[in-house]
C-alpha cells in the first residue's frame, strides 16, 4: 500500500464511490462485535479561517460533519479501535470509514481489501488533482506574447 499516514485514509476513502465502501464493510464478518467508543453523531463543524491581509481569525461558515469512533472485537478476541470524521451528514458513512480505519490500523482480516480501496481513492484524488491542474495549464496567461506589441494595458 502507498505510504499513506492514518490521517489520510478518510480523505482517500471519501473519494471512492459510496457503494464500494458500503459493500466492503458488509463483507466484514458478522461475528465481529462492534461497539461505539463514543456516540456516533451527525451535525456541523465551524470553519475558522485566518484572513491573509491583517491576519485576523474569523468564521467563514459551517460544514456538515459526521463522526464515529468504535471498537471492533473479532471472534478470536483481537481488538482494534477505529474512527472517522467526514464532511457528510450521514452517520453510516462515518461508521463505514471508522470500521475500515480499525481494520487497517490493526491489520484485522480484510485489511488488504481496505488498503486496495484506499489505493483506489488515492488514484481518484490524483485524477481530480490533475483535472484541476489541467484547468490551470490550459488558461495560464503568457504575458511574454504581449511584449512585442506593448503591454501597457496588459
Amino acid at each position: 500500500m502507498s505510504n499513506l499516514s492514518r490521517e489520510e485514509w478518510v480523505s482517500a476513502l471519501s473519494a471512492v464511490p459510496e457503494q464500494s465502501l458500503a459493500r466492503l464493510t458488509e463483507r466484514f464478518p458478522r461475528s465481529w462485535k462492534v461497539t461505539p467508543k463514543a456516540l456516533p453523531q451527525s451535525g456541523l463543524g465551524m470553519l475558522k479561517l485566518r484572513e491573509t491581509t491583517l491576519g485576523d481569525a474569523f468564521y467563514l461558515g459551517e460544514f456538515p460533519l459526521a463522526t464515529c469512533w468504535l471498537r471492533v472485537t473479532t471472534e478470536r478476541g483481537e481488538q482494534a479501535e477505529g474512527c472517522a470524521l467526514v464532511m457528510d451528514d450521514r452517520v453510516e458513512r462515518a461508521e463505514h470509514m471508522a470500521l475500515c480505519d480499525a481494520v487497517l490500523a490493526a491489520r484485522l482480516p480484510g485489511w488488504e481489501e481496505v488498503a486496495a480501496l484506499i489505493e483506489e481513492g488515492i488514484e481518484l484524488r490524483a485524477r481530480q488533482s490533475r483535472e484541476r491542474k489541467a484547468i490551470l495549464a490550459r488558461t495560464r496567461v503568457d504575458f511574454s506574447l504581449l511584449d512585442d506589441v506593448g503591454d501597457e494595458d496588459a
Binding site: 480523505s11 471519501s14 483535472e131 495549464a137
Partner: protein
Amino acid sequence: MAYVAIKGGGQAIEGSKAVLEYLRTRQGECAQPLQADTIQNQLRLLHGRVLSEGGVYHPRLASLAIKQAQGDSLEAAFILRAYRSTVPRLAETDLLDTRNMRITRRISSAFKDIPGGQMLGATTDYHLRLMRMELLNESPERFRAVSGEWFKDLNVDEIPDTFPKVLQQLRRDGLLAPLDEQRAQQTPFDITREPMIFPVPRSAALATLARGEQGSLLAIAYSNMRGYGDVHPTVAELRVGYLPVFLPHPITGKPMEIGEVELTECEVVAMYEADEEGGKPLFTLGYGACFGHNEVKAISMAILDRSLQNGVQHGPGNPSEDPEFVLLHVDGIESMGFCTHYKMPHYVTFQSDMDRLRATQAKQSQEQGE
C-alpha cells in the same frame, strides 16, 4: 389595538402549495426531474451563491434547496440556513490557511508577473455576452463529449499543488504592515450565536459579509466605488479553489483531512496612509472570502472590509463606512424576511391608519368650516 386570528385560509394555503408543486412539474410527460448533481454542476454559480448565503457548505442540500425553491436564491439560502439551525455543532477547525488552497483560478490586477503565474481558470470575463443559440438544442452526446475530451494532450507536471500569495512580496518590500501573529490568536466573534451589539470586532464583520447576500454587498460596495467613499481598490490577488479542511484524528490527535470546500478569496490593496503614531506610510488592505465560486461577492466584500476599517478608524464618512448600516442590511435572509412580511395580513394596523386619516380629514373639514 390587537391582532386577530385569521380563520378560513387553511385550504387556500394548502392549495397554494399544490399549485407551486404543479408549476414545478407541469413541463409534460417527457420532462425529467432535476437531479441534485445536475444543479451542482450545470448551475454551479447559483449553487455556490446559495452555499455561501446559506452559510453551510453542504453541496447536496444546497442543490436540494435550489430545486425546492424553484431557483429562488434567497429562498434556497433560507432553507439551507433553516436546516443548519436544526443540527448541533460538533466541532470547530483550527485556523485554516488559504495558502493551502488547491487553485483553479488565480489572477492579479496589481502585477502581470506574479509568483506561479496568472491562470484564468473558468471565467466569463472575456465573453462577448452573445447568445450561444446551439445550447437551446444541445444533444446529450455532444454535451458528454466536451468533458470526455478535456484532458487530451495537457501536461500538468509543472503545475504546483499550491501557490504563494501576491501580498507576500509587497510585505517583503516593506509596502505593507507585517502580519500580526497575535491577531490570529483572538477568539473570533460567532454571529450564529451572539447578537451583534455595536461596536463589533472585525471578525464579526467578516463573518457577516461572508454569508451576506451578493446583491446587497455589491450595491453598498458600488456606492463606495462610484464616489460615496474612497477605497480605490487594486485586486492584489483573486483566487478560486478548494481549501482542505482538517480536524484532529480522535485517536492519533494529528490533523486529518475530512473534506474540502470550494471558496473564492480576494485581497485588495487600497490607499496608503501613515499610522496614528506617524510611522512609515503603508498600503491599506481589504479582504473578502466566501464559499463557492463568486468573484463579485468576494471583491465587494474586500472593498467593504476596507471601507469599514476606514469608518472604524476615522469615523464613518459615508454609508459604506458605517458598520451598523452595512452589517445590519446585507443579510439576505433577514432583509428578505422583512420585505416579504409585508405580504402578511396587516388588517388591523391598516384599519387604524384609515381611522386616523378619516379623523384627520374630519378635523380639517371642521376647521375649514369654522
